[in-house]
């Protein structure tokens, strides 16, 4: 009897030890995130001022800023969003609503799963060979934006599919019963009801794209840009110009990388400050995505 009690006690002890180990292992990631924040803020906050956002890069760390970087990031994101969102959502809708179970769709599906696992720098090499040299887009905003669009396409397709899959079949059947065509069902029911999931996927995809450095370096973005691209707005008719698409550019993570790799201490401060801006941008996007997911999940109950 005593023996059994002892064994039970030992087992329970191990169980509790593991409980604590498990909790600690789960928290390691959080501790790292927290330390990273604190470290970045301590290093970088002194440099954060209006001037930092409004200045071009410079040889003198105190005068250098991220103007060309954040303008570049915004324009590249415009291209990425314009290319990846329609393509990704359309592909997701096709695979869930239209695609029949045959070898073509199963190849597409396996292919998307595989693309999601391809390292980002490979997309950069693809963009370098294809957009820069074959299509002659040059080392431009267009090339960079398209490279990132290819990168986040699988994410958007998968998010769209998951969101659509959650819609019960009864909704589709009700729509068909009223004589709606397939496209009318998709347009009036499937897309609105899956909007929350699709938006979440899009925002998370774009937040990945903002932080991506490797593919943009590969397509040859410059690290020192002391001018802005041609403005998209003109004073003459038709008031909108697309010349900026072909301008050289830099983006936030590349500006940060450039500063990190310089030996002077002043540039390390700049790197930390750029890191704070970058981190806040991605975290805000992720927070918005989580909020949307939460809100839509609450609103719709099947």
């Amino acid at each position: 009897m005593k023996d059994i009690k002892k064994r039970i006690a030992v087992s329970k002890l191990w169980n509790n030890i593991f409980l604590i180990t498990g909790l600690l292992s789960t928290l390691v990631g959080l501790v790292l995130l927290f330390t990273l924040f604190v470290d970045l803020f301590i290093d970088g906050v002194p440099r954060l001022s209006y001037k930092f956002f409004a200045s071009f890069p410079s040889r003198f760390p105190e005068q250098a800023g991220i103007l060309s970087a954040w303008v570049g990031t915004s324009l590249v994101m415009l291209v990425t969003a314009a290319a990846a969102i329609p393509l990704g959502v359309a592909a997701g809708i096709y695979l869930e609503e239209y695609g029949r179970k045959n070898w073509v769709t199963s190849i597409i599906e396996i292919n998307i799963t595989n693309l999601a696992g391809v390292p980002s720098i490979i997309y950069g090499l693809l963009a370098l060979g294809l957009f820069v040299y074959l299509f002659k887009f040059g080392e431009s905003i267009l090339t960079g934006g398209l490279a990132l669009a290819l990168l986040i396409l699988p994410m958007i397709i998968m998010a769209t599919r998951e969101a659509i899959r959650a819609i019960p079949n009864s909704i589709r059947e009700a729509s068909y019963a009223l004589g709606a065509t397939k496209w009318q069902t998709v347009k009036n029911h499937i897309i609105p009801y899956s909007m929350g999931g699709i938006l979440t996927g899009i925002i998370i995809g774009l937040s990945r794209a903002i932080g991506e450095t490797a593919p943009i370096i590969t397509v040859g973005a410059l690290t020192f840009i002391a001018f802005l691209p041609v403005s998209p707005f003109t004073s003459e008719f038709p008031f909108i110009s697309f010349k900026w698409l072909f301008d050289p550019f830099t983006v936030m993570p590349i500006q940060m990388f450039n500063w990190v790799s310089r030996p002077q201490a002043g540039f390390q401060v700049n790197a930390a400050a750029a890191g704070i801006v970058l981190l806040i941008m991605t975290l805000i996007m992720n927070a918005v995505a989580i909020y949307i997911r939460y809100k839509f999940r609450k609103k719709i109950k099947w």
Binding site: N15, F18, G22, L23, S25, T26, V28, G29, L32, L33, T35, L36, D39, L87, G88, A90, A91, Y94, L95, T105, I107, I108, N111, I112, T113, N114, L115, G117, V118, P119, S120, I121, I122, L125, L126, G129, P154, K182, I204, R208, I210, G211, E212, T213, A214, I217, T218, G220, P253, F257, V260, A271, A272, G275, L278, L279, T282, L283, N286, I290
Partner: protein, 296 residues
């Protein structure tokens, strides 16, 4: 009547557009394969494959270039190995904790927060490894060089915990409740059930998580490019600077390499090695995950 045909045409056109969008993802894969093979074909015309695969020196930018890929592969495997030493135990234990022990509410809060680890831009992690972790490690290991494989390896490991833990957790969740209940009925604790019943039952899922982690670490670029140094080094010593396949591509792309030169082609040769390595791991991972779905 006319409206009916025009409606039909419209439906057909829409379906065609949607189909082409879906097909575009296949074109991306074809594009990757064609571009990588085309440019590396040019490379292998000038460098014999045997020298490429067995050479232990990688100095394509020197006056007398040597094209042995092994130092870059060694660097890649070394950093990946360190990352796995960190992420596998932590990710697995965290997954068991989240799937078996954690209260529902805690899990709902902690999971999205853990996902944030994957959202932080990797260039920020690189800065952190170089300016925060390396100096700390240098205090513990005095002869650690300023650029080394250890520090980016550890950071990469923590970075991929969410990937490892979420796939493992899913596969443990997929183990039916009655198997756990059988174990509890025999008087086993949660700990004993987890290690003697759940891990064997969910083994293929855990292996898939492991493989996905490997694939992530092999393809990771900025952390190693910043903190591991840019020195091709045929070594297994984590204290020394190394260069990975990915950071070599970054190094060459930062310089102004003219299109069509041998230096330009080297990045595609390194790229195809990287692509094949990750493809290999992805296929195994895909196959393992398919096995979980069939198991129960």
């Amino acid at each position: 009547m006319k409206t009916k045909t025009s409606k039909k045409i419209k439906e057909f056109l829409i379906e065609a557009v949607l189909f082409l969008s879906a097909l575009s993802s296949v074109l991306i894969t074809i594009g990757i394969v064609v571009i990588l093979s085309y440019e590396s074909f040019g490379f292998f015309k000038e460098v014999p494959i045997k020298e490429f695969l067995t050479g232990t020196q990688w100095t394509p930018l020197f006056a007398e270039p040597k094209f042995g890929i092994l130092p870059l592969v060694a660097g890649t495997l070394l950093t990946t190995f360190i990352a796995l030493l960190v992420s596998l135990p932590l990710g697995l234990v965290a997954a068991i904790y989240l799937s078996e022990y954690a209260p529902h509410k805690f899990r709902e809060i902690i999971k999205p927060v853990l996902e944030l680890l994957a959202a932080v831009p990797t260039v920020v992690y690189g800065y952190f490894a170089l300016s925060f972790l390396t100096p700390i490690l240098q205090k513990i290991v005095p002869d650690l060089s300023g650029f080394n494989a250890l520090s980016p390896g550890i950071i990469m490991g923590i970075m991929i915990i969410p990937y490892v833990s979420s796939v493992s957790e899913d596969s443990m969740k997929a183990v039916p409740m009655h198997i756990r209940e059988g174990s509890y009925a025999m008087g086993a604790t949660k700990f004993q059930t987890a290690f003697k019943v759940l891990i064997p039952a969910a083994f293929s899922g855990i292996a898939a998580a492991f493989i996905i982690g490997v694939s992530r670490a092999v393809g990771e670029t900025m952390v190693v490019a910043i903190a591991a140094g840019m020195m091709p080094n045929f070594t297994a010593n984590p204290m020394e600077p190394v260069q990975t396949l990915t950071s070599y591509i970054v190094q060459v792309s930062l310089g102004d390499v003219p299109h069509g030169t041998i230096e330009y082609k080297t990045i595609f040769a390194a790229g195809i090695v990287l692509f094949l390595m990750t493809l290999f791991f992805n296929i195994i991972g895909f196959w393992l995950r398919k096995k979980i779905r069939q198991a129960y």
